[in-house]
């Protein structure tokens, strides 16, 4: 049982980190459009043969 003295603070630190990351993601606008981003990959797949993308990432 004594291991809880270490494990619980560690889990709390992780929770704080998760909430911090979540705030960062929401405030950065990553959740602004919940519909579109999931579908974008479907379109790109079809468009590629017509217009070859440049090697740079355009995320």
């Amino acid at each position: 049982m004594e291991s809880l003295y270490f494990l619980i603070p560690i889990s709390m630190a992780f929770v704080a980190l998760a909430i911090g990351l979540y705030f960062w993601a929401v405030k950065g606008g990553q959740y602004d459009d919940l519909e579109l981003e999931g579908k974008r990959i479907l379109f790109e797949q079809e468009a590629k043969p017509q217009a070859p993308q440049q090697p740079e990432d355009q995320a």
Partner: protein
Amino acid sequence: MTSLAAPCYHCGLPAHPEFSAPLQGALQHFCCLGCQAVAQAIMGSGLGDFYQFREQQNPKVEAQALAFSAYDNPAVQSEFVHSLSGDLHEAQLLIGGISCAACVWLIEKHLQTLPGLVSVSVNSTNHRAFVRWHSEQLPLSRIFAALGQIGFTPMPQVAASAYQFWQAQQKTALLRVGVAGISMMQAGMVAVGLYAGALQGLDAHWQNILRWITCIFALPVLFYAAVPFYVGAWRALRLRQLTMDVSVSLALLLAFAASLYATLTRTGEVYFESLSMFVFILLSGRYLEQRARFRNFQQSASLQSLLPLAVTQQLADGSESLVPLRSVEPGQRIRVMPGAIFPCDGRVLAGSSYAIEAILSGEAEPQAKQPGDRVLAGTHNGDTALLLEVEATGAATQLAAIEQLFAQAASQRPAQQALADRLAGHFVAAVLVISLATFAVWYWLEPSRALWIALSVLVVTCPCALSLATPAALVCGLGRLRQQGLLVTSPSVLETLTRVTHVVFDKTGTLTHGELRVEEVTCLRNVPRDAVLAIIAALEAASAHPIAKAFALYASDLRASNLEVVAASGVQGEVMAEHYRFGTPAFAWPASPPAYPNAGQWQLLADAQGPIAWVRLCDQLRLSALPALAQLRAQGLAVSLLSGDRAETVTNLAADLGIDDAQGAMVPAAKLAQVQSLQQQGSVVLMVGDGINDVPVLGGADVSIAMGSASALTQTRADAILLSGDLQALPKALVFAQRVTSVIRQNLWWALAYNLVALPAAVMGWIPPWLAAVGMSSSSLVVVLNSLRLNPSR
């Protein structure tokens, strides 16, 4: 033409036999030249996949009278364009016509082909596009034109404050849901240890530690995530009302205080994890409802969105310059080009034209404007440029007066209280009384347990399912209605929709298409119908009169020369070396004007030898108008027609449709008064309209629906928008609203039934905290599952 036409490939409205084009190896049909041009432009740039990916038909393409070149003017750009570095610029555009993710893909792909465009990103939810470009390579007007070319209507995003407020609110709501979710999971995990300990026996030392940990995890939930409930409750209490927020806040704060007391004194029970779960479930429901509501939030479209951004001002020395509308003041002189929108109220100084005022008055017939006449902001100029003296701008215009009438009407609108909130008042009172009674009785029986049993009553009856009952059903119902073509912007109207007893329609643009079409051709000489129409089309090619639009369909290779447009009479010109006149009989054949064949809007074509043919024009009824009215009557609803058009036209149309109660020549205030008098007689009124002149009455009616072709201003003032223009969606929506309301009722009954079962058990002191948590979440789950039945396609 009356036969069932194939749907337009682009917008899905009935196609017109005149418009077809081979696309992707098959002949496709269209409803108008606009849709055809857009589809061809999309295919031509290799983006034809759009038609496979899109989830909905596109809105019909409207002719764009806007001259985009004004957007290249630095003074105009200063209102919405930011200069980043060098010639790199950034702007936010509001794009009309986006209906799904495929539209976004189409816009982004199409704009990326423009040389000089650095980046474009479009948000499919709020229809805003962020564009960055090099202004030396690419004028901004090209970007606007490119959007128009593929069938979208771009607008500069000027007044963004309302939108920014809304977006900040959405973000905060999402943050609260997330914090509640993460904390709830942690608190829940630790609580499992407590529950297991309660059954198997747990060392008091460890029990105390675990309680403190759940308490710590519950803190962000109670003091960050749950804040909106406290704010809502405080507001309700100040108005001396008991709403759902009051009940929720009370349960949260009392249970938290008692759990904290239990933790400090190492007695009783703790409910930290139940509270966290409760907040998370409720916030999720609210967040989804809010998102469904604002899904097509168009910004509060202001009057400004109707008016051009720039005007041509004439200075004292006679020179002209393009200036932003905001800088124009009464007394100045401006020039308004043919086909443009008047930017302000003014008096004509020079020029002779006509104005199309249907948007303000509902009158379809153009009004002649001579020097000295008044013109109104928001109406269209006809076919000659006018020099105006500005009389009123901005809030002082007639257009703005309509907006004020709307605000007044909306404030007088009968109050609608949601069923759940009405119930909540009684519910909160009942629960408080029962909790106090339970405490009193147990205090007398067994004082040490009294507080904890009274508290468990409060927690068990926590109105979780009750407050989820409405949002869950609304979210599912709104999604389904959207698929059927009705976009509901304020969900509370679904309940009102089921009580509607009287449907009031506007005429022009609502029951009819709002544009003239050729209805009948009577040839007086041996000239084929097609030849007559081709000649007229050539004559009308240069005119911007609404009559001319009716002939655009019939344009051929014929070209006319020496064209002259005679105000309020007609057009004349030469086609194939022959002189023709087309217009009123007195104009076309002044020698001996023939009598009109019968009532109706007849125009005469004549050449040097005499009259050739009569053509009757008519603003055609929507195909769906008759069946829709029949279905509404079958549902037992009364139907009325209120129009700003001439009384005679209105009566004729009403007779065709079998509407007994029809009134014409109504100004906006009269329409509103008529609807208010219906409401005083006990009717619940649904108003369907499209013009700016309908805006006040849309505000005053119990429920209002704007047509999809209405201006943005009208649309944002209505509770719902009929996207497809198919009036038959109305009776369907009324039936569906009944279903949504009945699911809401089922949900409420279930929530009450659950409480009725759980309450006695809690009063008797039989419910430990873990059972309270299980009961609360399972009753909420039932409500959500029941609501999902409304949207079986998901």
